[in-house]
């Protein structure tokens, strides 16, 4: 199947050819007879769901994993890439999802780290060289800045510079936009285009289809460890790509159930706090999904944490069914019917070292029937709960007895949703609920949120993804610098909402 793909298209000889690569882990085949060609001057997107084998394939190319079968040719010659060092010597560089930078070091010091060129450092020359590189490819980053001063987007540029400094022609980027704001992502794409035009070959690992269609020259889709197809943005569409990835059609617009909007469940009045909230007021009613749109860092996290009681506001009122809950402990606010899907599921959602069943009961572990009068956990009941949740929410795990850390991101999020929704809340606070999830999982999470509306619950959806806001919300507000800067109907034009996201629209337009 993979042999006939793409051959003949493009005249330049490929920079890298991976042929029939098979990589097994004990009990699984992560890459199954995958072949791939990378050409000079192209952005090659490698897409697939979590666990499809994208990162594994690239780690094989970068020398981090040995492949059991298959071979790699670089510039027409077969090479055995046994370590990242060999990969770099062959002009292959990789930027991982999690950066490996020394915070107190300057950009230049980080870039030359491991390639200092002798015992005595010529920092002036190194500075110059790094500055030249940055200028050549349009990287906005000051060589003398220390890494701790940099934003995430800038740190990523330093990582790319590190690879370029070592003279790589083939640059692998593992989910580079996962950590970026939309603006930063666009800037990255600008950098990548320059690199491509300079003849570099770029592998762009992603599962964000819009981005892939925007930046890629060619697209290879992996599913279950196999290459299931190769295409170009011109030949394909988002829906087609999603179908190739998931193996079935995926809906990007779900039908919103029509539910009668009821009484206000949550009223927030003039919430002030910690410099990030500057007088937020909003209202969510039963059966309503209120979408809070905005660029990240404008108080989203602080708002969510204030509502669940993690971060008491300096002033203002939070009325839950008419009763002020400001100052109450988290447990009490939860008891009053608030569920919380945090933006960071590792920091605030799951205890990764604990098992699925232990996580499934977190927050309800002190309620009957999960706790006996004497303070013992009723493990039988908890395991029944966990078994039921795992089944209902389709959490794929080997067992409820494995640590939560062994689940994929999508399954971790399903577990959190399952736990939070099973408590039958009146209000769901969902903060960036699909961050880092792949298409299939996003659809699942969206369905669950819409189902809450159908059940007559109130939902406060905080998201940086405008797609998500549109797909789910009955009403949209924009959050900018800790204030609500606009209110919009669900069919408002994106341009209008964009104005609010940038703070322009102070006078609220009622729908």
């Amino acid at each position: 199947m993979s042999d006939t793909r793409g051959a003949g298209r493009g005249s330049a000889p490929p920079l890298v050819v991976m042929e029939h690569v098979t990589k097994r882990f004990p009990g699984v085949v992560a890459n199954d007879d995958v072949s791939l060609e990378l050409r000079a001057g192209e952005v090659h997107a490698l897409i697939g769901e979590n666990g499809a084998g994208k990162s594994t394939l690239m780690r094989v190319l970068y020398g981090m994993y040995p492949a059991e079968e298959g071979r790699t040719l670089v510039r027409g010659e077969e090479v055995r890439i046994s370590s990242p060092r060999v990969a770099i010597a062959n002009g292959i560089g990789m930027v991982h999802q999690h950066f490996v930078l020394v915070d107190p070091f300057s950009v230049t010091e980080n870039v030359i780290l491991g390639d200092e060129g002798g015992e005595i450092l010529d920092m002036d020359r190194a500075h110059e060289k790094v500055a030249e590189l940055a200028l050549a490819y349009g990287f906005q980053v000051r060589p003398s800045a220390t890494v701790e001063e940099l934003s995430v987007g800038e740190e990523q540029r330093v990582e790319i510079l590190k690879a370029l400094y070592r003279g790589v022609d083939i640059l692998i980027l593992d989910e580079p936009t996962a950590v970026l704001t939309p603006g930063e992502a666009q800037e990255l794409f600008g950098n990548l285009r320059r690199l491509r035009d300079d003849g570099k070959s770029i592998v762009f690992i992603s599962h964000k289809l819009d981005e892939v269609l925007q930046i890629a020259d060619r697209i290879t889709v992996l599913r279950r460890g196999k290459a299931v197809g190769e295409t170009t943005p011109a030949e394909t569409s988002k829906a087609k790509l999603a179908e190739m990835m998931v193996g079935r059609p995926v809906l990007f617009r779900l039908d919103k159930p029509s539910v009668e909007i009821g009484e206000p469940i949550l009223r927030v009045e003039e919430l002030l706090g910690q410099g990030k909230l500057n007088g937020v007021s909003l209202e969510v009613r039963a059966g309503e999904i209120l979408g809070v749109a905005g660029v990240e860092g404008n108080g989203q996290r602080e708002l969510a944490e204030a509502l669940i009681g993690l971060r008491p506001p300096a002033s203002g009122r939070i009325l839950l069914e008419g009763n002020d809950v400001v100052g109450l402990p988290v447990a009490e606010i939860r008891n009053r019917g608030v569920a919380y899907v945090p933006e960071d599921r590792h920091e605030q959602g799951l205890v990764l070292d604990m098992t699925l069943w232990e996580n499934a009961v977190l927050g309800r572990h002190d309620d009957a029937p999960f706790l006996s009068r004497l303070g013992f956990l009723v493990i039988q009941k908890i395991k029944e709960l966990a078994g039921r949740l795992v089944k209902q929410f389709d959490v794929r795990a080997r067992s409820i007895n494995v640590p939560a850390s062994t689940l994929s991101g999508g399954n971790q999020q399903k577990l959190i949703l399952a736990r939070e929704l099973d408590a039958d809340p009146k209000l769901l606070i969902a903060s960036q609920p699909t961050r880092g999830l792949d298409v299939g999982a996003i659809e699942f999470v969206w369905r669950q949120i819409l189902e809450q509306k159908e059940e007559g619950r109130a939902v406060l959806l905080i998201s940086a993804e405008l797609d998500e806001i549109y797909a789910l919300s009955d009403r949209i507000v924009t959050l900018y610098e800790g204030r609500i800067t606009g209110e919009y109907p669900p069919d408002a034009r994106p341009e209008d909402i964009g104005v609010g996201m940038l703070g322009g629209n102070e006078a609220r337009e009622a729908s």
């Binding site: 666990g51 988290v330 959602g349 572990h365 493990i379 794929r396 795990a397 080997r398 399954n411």
Partner: protein, 393 residues
Amino acid sequence: MAADAAAIRAPRERSAWLETAVGQGLALVAAFVIALLAGSVIILLYGESPLAVYGAMLSFAFRDPTSFGTVLAIATPLIFAALAVSVCFKGGLFNIGVEGQFLVGMVTASWAALTLDFLPGLLHLTAVLLFACIGGMVYAAVPGVLKVKTGAHEVVTTIMMNSIAISIVAYALNGPLKFTEAPPGQNVDLRTDIFEKSALMPDLGHFFGVEKSAHLSWLFPMALVAAVLVWVLIRRMRLGYEARAVGSSAGSARAGGIAIGSVQVKLFLISGALAGLVGMQQVLAERGALVQNYEALLGFTGIAVAFLGQNNPIGIVFAAILWAILTRGETALQIETDVPREFVIILQGILIFCVVVVYQVARRRLARRQLQRAGAEVGLRDTAVTDEQPQEA
């Protein structure tokens, strides 16, 4: 519903659990062997045969019931101390203050032994033990509350409080608890009066042919019971669950409605109560009084033992016994070899060192392998099952 839970249990799971247990066990054995080998080099430098020296140490621990009884008696306070350390550790707290808490426990227990002597029989002993726990708890409550209310780091406060505790013992022996009848002869060491018999811990060893000189008392089975109770607390009770959640992810625990401060204070109290019992072996089973030249540093040894037992209550029992065998080996060295007794301290140090290195290396490799496998497996199963799912429009 239970059937559902069972249905998703894959057959591999048990083997993974076993792999972890066996892997960790092997790592500990390997660490021990490496430590013995390293110790052999030192023995050879003294011109002795490692086999003979280790043989002497071993036979000294096992050659008759009294020998082994002595080992268990030495292990007894170490078990309490290590349990005290581990309880806090589960909640992400590093209680360096077990030493101070145990000293204060000895003082309060001695006060109870001397003052509450009107209590009949077992009630007197119970009260003494209770006061030992209370002393440790009160002393542990201070760093606990300081931590929660002011954020003062428990390592700093407990270290400081250890020094204060030494002075508290000295004050008690010079003042309120000082003997009323001077000891006979030339002995001018300070101590309390000898306790009434009803305050002492009865001997257990003679049931098993262990001589009384071994001081194997009922405290040893109490330490075993304490280990089981700690296990139950950590694995089966609300507080233990909350402690583990706080210890491994404070943010998620807080978002789940767990009151972190309250959990941490409770852990300090339980830890202090266990620490209070550390001194009872010497006070109630060996000396029958609180003496000036009491055996100190047991709290610190408890940190090493807790570490050796990987903070697992059952592991701690075995680690304490192993530690005691080595400690008793000191006497063997003095009697039967030319190797100085300090060799044991060096060996214990090397052992901890080896456990740090070998155990961590092994655990990391094991974890990486399991995580990799689990991740890859679940990832693939994800898509595999998705394919078969019936789709609604």
